[in-house]
Subunit: 407 residues, 4 copies
């Protein structure tokens, strides 16, 4: 993408091999200054090594931000108000983090006077789209450099050669061990792609998973927790109020320990191909189940049904990278308009991979009226005879049609 001369570029920089190569490649190919941006969104890695490496590479402006609270408060929680699941299975852990990174890239570009941004996402995946749609929406004139779509370092071997020739250290993976999978992590999830997952018939090895124990290895005793909700967001656990990031971190801990939140799916990428991914989303899996249960008690039927009908589209928008698009904002406005009443407590039993709702209550907003629903006499709370007219008028169009010998 010839975009004229680049003066300064902000790079989303993890400190790992790929983005270290990109940092060097940008300096060489574009002859421009590089600003690095490294974010803590709960991926569970130390960030200071990234600072040291950037400094060593001659970077003068180094941004290292703790975005965990913003991430959960302004991205994860609004999305969970929508009960968003992509294609029935995927909780959008990677998708929801990208617009936040993209937004910070644009903010830093403005602060540093950079005219371009760059990222390490490949040309085959969804992340490039998510980064770039965000960037273009927030700064229509930004220039974007996506090295994977430009260079010829398209195999791991070529990349390693390039690194070696430039003296870029090739370290072991994040936690000291080496994983053959392509992984991504943040406070909401960790994902795995590639390697033996490229055959959708093959079950991955037990040692792939990193955040959760296998259900088989979880405690033999169930864990019971109570989640407190206010306006659709979880604000505490077992009576203890917590910040958004604290809630999610704690649910990850509890869920992971109980073997909760693993999934293994084939999904449809926005760029047109099917891909296979495995995910661990322990806290999110608990949160989704609990949020739905809270809504089941407090939300009006038709509002709930409309939310369910809009949800797949909302999820696709998030998956495809349209967080900062008018249609996502429009749906969010509809969703948020329903959540004022979603207040109360949900009790859950967690056991070896299972999340079981076993109780829900709301002092202020329960729409469950036992005096109406009871199987016993209800003292006139509900007049059963009303049902006759209800059914007869709902059936009228079917009867008229039936008389024309049709259904």
């Amino acid at each position: 993408m010839a975009q004229g001369a680049i003066k300064k570029v902000v790079l989303a920089y993890s400190g790992g091999l790929d983005t270290s190569v990109i940092l060097k490649w940008l300096q060489e190919e574009y002859g421009c200054e590089v600003v690095t941006f490294t974010a803590d969104i709960g991926q569970g890695e130390e960030l200071e090594p990234a600072r040291a490496k950037a400094t060593a590479a001659g970077v003068k402006e180094i941004y290292i931000d703790d975005l965990r609270e913003e991430f959960v408060r302004d991205f994860v929680f609004p999305m969970f108000r929508a009960n968003a699941i992509y294609e029935g299975e995927y909780l959008l852990g990677t998708s929801i983090a990208r617009p936040l990174i993209g937004k910070r890239l644009i903010e830093i570009a403005a602060e540093t006077g950079a005219d371009a941004i760059s990222h390490g996402a490949t040309g085959k995946g969804n992340d490039q789209v998510r980064f770039e749609l965000t960037a273009y929406a927030l700064n229509p004139d930004i220039k974007i450099i996506a090295p994977w779509r430009e260079w010829d370092l398209l195999s791991r071997e070529k990349l390693m050669d390039y690194a070696a020739s430039r003296g870029i250290a090739v370290e072991m993976k994040r936690d000291g061990t080496k994983s053959p999978y392509s992984m991504d992590a943040n406070l909401l999830h960790i994902s795995y792609e590639g390697y033996d997952l490229e055959d959708p018939w093959v079950e991955p090895g037990a040692d792939m998973w990193r955040w959760s124990v296998a259900p088989e290895d979880a405690p033999d005793q169930a864990t019971v927790i109570e989640l407190m909700f206010e306006r659709g967001d979880c604000v505490g656990i077992d009576g203890q109020r917590m910040s958004p990031a604290e809630v999610l971190a704690e649910l990850n801990r509890i869920g992971g320990a109980n073997g909760i939140g693993r999934s293994d799916i084939v999904e449809n990428r926005y760029v047109g191909m099917k891909s296979r991914g495995c995910y661990e989303t322990p806290g999110g899996t608990i949160l989704l189940k609990a949020h739905r249960a809270m809504e089941s008690l407090t939300l009006d039927r038709e509002a709930a049904h409309l939310k369910d009908e809009l949800m797949p589209r909302y999820a696709s928008l998030v998956y495809n990278g349209y967080w900062f698009a008018p249609e996502r904002l429009m749906l969010q406005a509809a969703i948020d308009a329903t959540q004022e009443v979603v207040n109360g407590v949900v009790r859950l039993r967690l056991y070896k991979g299972n999340v079981m709702v076993v109780g829900r209550k709301s002092e202020t907003n329960s729409l469950f009226d036992a005096s109406i629903a009871t199987f016993e006499e209800d003292a006139g709370a509900y007049d059963q005879k009303d049902a006759t007219g209800f059914i007869r008028l709902n059936a009228l169009r079917l009867r008229v049609a039936g008389r024309k010998n049709r259904c």
Copy 2:
């Protein structure tokens, strides 16, 4: 509902207390002949006692039908092609059986020259609606007697008194024990309502559940099975072809043994109230997960997304009783049009309540193309540079808007 003189009525008759009282009450109140209809839809009860009781009550036309294959083939399976779930949790086990019963009532009315039908559903629930919408759609001129909406036997005590005064035997519940819950069962599920479930904060006792072991009591060893799909329907297990009812029965057995398919929810009834129900749907829970996995490999992305968007409406139609309505048929036509390619095998691990997809394959219809999706060099199967134009044109409207200082 005064509907003029009734000559003969077909009653959906289980042989239990409620419908035995109704049988008597119809004879007394309407002075009409009663035809009984008892169906085996897999509820797991003997039907012959119903014949004996009906005979004893003076019934001359007694219908006892085994509808299990028709139930699964023509009702359950089409519904599972839609991946139908009501309100995110309920697999519609009761809902899907009602139109079949209603249809047989109308057929038997035609065969026996009856001018009315009757059922034992209360005036507060969904089942009355499902029976009667079905009946009206298939015979617009049928008369319907819903005793619960007419009589004054509105408490259990009054009902027992009526039974005692007419010499109707009050037996123990189905399996010899007495349950305090209102239950309904068929090949797809068993449901529980009432009693302590009327407080949504209370967890039901462990002895309520009847079809499945608790996850805690399931085997410590996972069970691995393979489900074969043809045109979206499961046609066999572990290489063994089976009829629809056999498939579901076998999945119930395997699922129940592994603690699969329990749920505890608050749902919104069509008649306007929230109610709390517990369900065991072992086979259905496995089937839904497997069908989605089969689709993930074989179904086009946009067809799958459209199915997901239409699903909540389809599920509401089934829940509300509109099986024989043009809008359900219309959605079914759309859904069925997608299923020709849903062929292949899904491998699942079942363990203490968990259904884990661990493999899926389709020789004829897999859309997973490893040569495109690979993280390695792809020999030109996919040109990463295409992504640049894809992103730039998708971003164009956001950029133009951004220039007007909006997102």
Copy 3:
């Protein structure tokens, strides 16, 4: 509907024959005090005669309110932001007025200490539903008396007899002439039902229509007007700012003079039957066309498409009487979130029934970028090569499927 003793009832009172009979009937049947409420919502009738008649009938609390501005500002305009049309043809003129009347009935009941409300809508129509859903939503414990569903005055003859026997004056219709049609009017429209319209093959006589000239009788010269929009609402005509009710009244005048806004349709009532109605909506017809044109210039594509997909449901909610329901509020939140940018001017040519958009502009919010769209060289505003990647990735799933010999 036996609802216990009624002490005081607020009646929606027009002063015409029907509601005068109801007033008397309420006094006789229920022996309760009646409060009358008469609203000016632009129906074009004098209201003071209603006061005189109510006084004569012994009513002590008489409410006569001018609700025209509230009607247009809080009901008509929000609905037009949604571009609402029911079943492709009906602009919801009657539907949108009912929740306002219902709301005032409940407010007046609170002010006067009444425990019930009453209205003159029949048991076959939509209006009873709209009044009563509104009333129940705003006061769940209100009692509602719907005389048409209770009494036996079900023919015009019986009604006249009742009136005669009680000395109720049977006057000519509104404007001094007598119409055989059932009519309803407010600032948005006038409607006709019944009489020869009951055969949908019959064209109504030319003298049925009251608000507009026939296209044949409209001026031979087109009228050109410019409508100013702010945040999706029309705030003025031809440079002249006006209040909401003034805008609509003026558009009615201009539209009616140009033969605009007649329609003749068969529609589906909420109570299950088809009915045939004729409508004159001159101002609304112009407004809808202009609003869409304003959005076409200023609204994002995906927001506009989502609005279009949600519109039919929004229209059904309004038609069915669910104005004060969570799902309508939810949709309204989504719609309103899009309208901040709908600012500018639309120019229209009105000619013998036609509303033709001939220009639209927006200094602040036009998303039309001639430098991109031009057929001439665009100096790099758009890179045509981007389209290649855009198409190729959008086609990818079709190609992969095509290789499996399917489309």
Copy 4:
């Protein structure tokens, strides 16, 4: 798009300047054999001159096909069953023709052993997408040459120079006059873009329009016609059965003479920009109105409403070029499933731009039941008391919520 050596290419060839230049350019640039394909889809031009020019240019395989019946029967009519309108205004006249052209290009490529196709659509418009999505769906391995995205002849001047230098005749426009607009025509419509339309505030000159008289110039006497429908398709006019193409041609004639079917809109292109277009769709405008009227009498309410909700998506799919995509086929299956009952006759008055429905009837499928809808006594066809229960149960959720002080 480097696609390796091309041996033979099938070109969609009109015989006009642009495609004549492309023909030459393909021969020069690709050094390959060119097959020309010219279709009669009702654009109203002679095709034989195209044959002569192709022959003169050295083309050996020349295809000239009359596709009018196929176009209307298999493309236009299925689309009208859906009542498709894009963005509330556009009847998709150009969009619906492209997949047919694309399909024939692929068929001819197969017949002639060509490995590529080519077309004259620019890189800014929708048509390139429609041609190419169709082509890729039907032959995933086809190569596509889109000269406008490759060459540098991006202004009219450069094109003329190229033509002059190669001896390509630059003739006047189709009908002998010269139009400054970019136009496209087929049996469904004629479109205009570019020139003074590039300012959306400017009204085009009266001499732009070609197919219809201005409403001002239409006859002073209305024309009344009756359209016969079978299964949702128009099969005749005024009692005279006609083929699909005959129907549309005749409606174009009648509509055009009565000033019907002009529109002037700003629309959102799939490639991301807004553009302004004017359209004449005389027959289609009549057909849409009549089809809706036929459905209003014969179609079930909920089926009709579901169609309305799905329509905008269906229209977008057609607009964006996804005719041969699974999701369009899926929607078509749903739509077609409803049309079996859409039989009868619609009477219309056409007058100076207006299409007024004045009658509709269906002997076999009318769902209008005057005995139910009547304002007079109905002899028990409808029990008004049923409405009480209907309203009360529909209000129940609102009342329960109201008791929690919410709406």
